[in-house]
């Protein structure tokens, strides 16, 4: 990481304001996790250790809907594959080994990779700075807001009275919305919705969600 004296103001402002905005999502996560039956400790550990928004929501969503730990883990892991692809892009830029590589891996998420790639025109040192600042910034705010959300929700006895049960599908639709870029994305979203609803009464909880990954594989295999 670059020494503090050389931190570029524009990059820092971009990274930290993004980190704060993204961090506020964790309010919804913290509250929804408690409503799904996770403890405050488990909720915090998900934000500290799993640290990938969509996967975290998937874990609590699947368990909250009555799914098994295995289906929750599988859904979360399928959503986490993109982080591996981000790692591939970041490796030549970061050039880190040992403990720094472990830290870099943990904060390799949508936002840190996105900012780093966006700084491409401004050189590799700005890319590195964007990655570390955004990654650490999101990590900090994400975990703070998780605790605030979890603590607020832990005083609530009936989640429905506070709309927490509706906050989860709202969070998921907000996560998928920006990904609906092409016609194929929209067809896939609609067919995944249909498949999940049709199989819900038939399959054990959680499996209707995982089954839709098959649609993604089928489409990705055939389309070009």
């Amino acid at each position: 990481m670059s020494p503090v004296s050389s931190i570029n103001r524009a990059t820092a402002t971009k990274s930290l304001s993004l980190a704060f905005a993204v961090g506020t999502y964790a309010l919804a996560f913290g509250a929804a996790s408690i409503a799904a039956g996770f403890s405050i400790l488990q909720t915090s550990l998900l934000s500290l250790l799993l640290f990938s928004g969509a996967s975290q929501f998937a874990v609590i969503g699947v368990i909250g809907a009555g799914g098994t730990a295995l289906t929750a883990i599988a859904t979360s892991t399928l959503l986490g594959f993109r982080n591996a692809l981000y790692g591939i892009v970041m490796t030549p830029i970061l050039q880190v080994t040992g403990f720094k590589k472990i830290v870099a891996a943990q904060i390799t998420i949508d936002e840190s990779t996105g900012v780093a790639l966006g700084e491409e025109d401004r050189g590799i040192s700005m890319q590195r700075q964007g990655f570390w600042l955004t990654g650490f910034g999101v990590f900090l705010f994400w975990n703070i807001f998780t605790v605030i959300g979890a603590l607020s929700a832990s005083t609530i006895s009936n989640p429905a009275e506070w709309g927490l049960d509706a906050a989860v599908p709202a969070a998921f639709i907000a996560l998928v919305w920006p990904r609906l870029k092409s016609k194929n994305d929209i067809y896939l979203a609609l067919s995944a919705t249909a498949l999940a609803l049709i199989t819900t009464p038939i399959l054990p909880a959680g499996l209707p969600i995982i089954a839709t990954a098959g649609l993604a594989v089928l489409l990705g295999w055939r389309v070009r």
Partner: protein, 103 residues
């Protein structure tokens, strides 16, 4: 260990392994166009399925209730490009009001 702990630890461990693998596996094994495409589609499918199940399923039964109203409000908020916390907050608020009026 109950399922909450297994899910928390298991999902966290695998998430880190995937992140670390990306920083360690030679790019040629994952830089395949088809794999990249599938990887782009997977979140669309899973997140859409999660929207449907979270909004319309209770255990293994389908039902349209206060959550559906919340989802409609969220979709409208996204359509007019409101930021994430507002989208979730508005959905929760609408759903809570409807629930309280009916229970």
């Amino acid at each position: 260990m109950n399922k909450f702990w297994i899910a928390t630890i298991g999902a966290s461990a695998l998430a880190f392994l995937l992140k670390f693998a990306g920083h360690s596996i030679p790019a040629k094994y994952l830089n395949n166009a088809r794999l990249q495409r599938i990887n782009g589609f997977i979140p669309v499918a899973l997140l859409s399925a999660l929207v449907a199940v979270q909004a319309f399923a209770t255990k293994r039964e389908l039902q349209v209730d206060h959550r559906a109203l919340g989802l409609a409000v969220a979709a409208f908020a996204l359509k007019i490009k409101l930021p994430f916390p507002v989208v979730v907050g508005a959905a929760a608020f609408a759903s809570a009001i409807f629930y309280r009026l009916n229970n």
